[in-house]
């Protein structure tokens, strides 16, 4: 139990610090690398919640896939624009106030959540997930496949060259 508490605090500090770096660092490329760190820290939180399969999915799809795509996009636009993209922020004060207000709102709502005991993990989680994905969730899974194909074809169509 102590290991979980220690792991949670380490993961939480890394996650919050790298999230802050994502929104505050002026260099866009560094922001993407910090986003990768934040996504890996989220994966560790999944691991602490005894969901190792989601940890693997998080690393493969998010930290692997999304970060690679964003890095490619930045390199493409940087090559086109000729110099490294610096990004500035605007409305920092208003944004901070609004974000803090949203956080306070969610936190005050959370005060009313009942304290639940964590349920014990029963059986093989990956097997249960697989069974559920081809059983009650089979139709949403197929729709998800269709959505992915359509989205990627659309992305290809957008990004194609004119000739």
């Amino acid at each position: 139990m102590t290991a979980e508490i220690l792991g949670f605090w380490v993961a939480a500090v890394v996650l919050v610090a790298s999230s802050l770096a994502v929104v505050l660092t002026p260099n866009l490329f560094h922001a993407v690398l910090w986003l990768a760190a934040a996504l890996v820290a989220t994966g560790v939180v999944f691991l602490l919640l005894e969901s190792p399969f989601l940890f693997a999915v998080q690393l493969l799809l998010y930290a692997g896939g999304v970060v690679t795509i964003v890095v490619f996009a930045i390199m493409l636009t940087e090559r086109l624009v000729g110099d490294s993209i610096r990004q500035t922020s605007r409305f920092v004060f208003n944004g901070a106030v609004l974000a803090a207000a949203v956080f306070v709102g969610i936190a005050s709502f959370m005060m009313h959540t009942p304290t639940l005991a964590r349920t014990a993990t029963a059986g093989d989680q990956v097997r249960d997930l697989g069974r559920a994905l081809v059983g009650p969730y089979a139709v949403p899974l197929q729709l998800l496949g269709v959505l992915l194909v359509v989205a990627l074809l659309g992305a290809l169509y957008f990004a194609r060259t004119e000739d």
């Binding site: 922001a31 996504l39 639940l116 349920t119 659309g154």
Partner: protein, 99 residues
């Protein structure tokens, strides 16, 4: 750790992502903020799933992760097209549809 600790962490990351969406000028920076917000929601889903003993939260997280990948692919394709046409990805300069 109690459920509220995970929920508080997720709310904090969500607020940080919202701050990024509101303050970034660069379109890619805004997309990164959206990624952070979706990520925070995933923490909530997994935490509720584990504390309620319900597998649906994990399935939902799988779906959100896949849909996020589709969303970021289309979003970045749009960013690249906008850059080709307008030579800028500053969100403030993209006011063609302003009345």
């Amino acid at each position: 750790m109690p459920l509220s600790a995970y929920l508080a962490l997720a709310a904090l990351v969500f607020a940080i992502g919202l701050f990024g969406v509101l303050t970034r000028r660069n379109a890619v920076g805004i997309l990164l903020g959206i990624e952070l917000m979706l990520n925070a929601v995933n923490i909530n889903l997994v935490a509720f799933s584990r504390f309620h003993g319900n597998l649906a939260g994990l399935i939902f997280t799988l779906f959100t992760i896949a849909i996020t990948v589709a969303e970021i692919a289309v979003g970045l394709a749009i960013v690249i097209v906008i850059f080709r046409v307008r030579r800028t990805i500053e969100a403030d300069h993209l006011d063609l549809l302003r009345g």
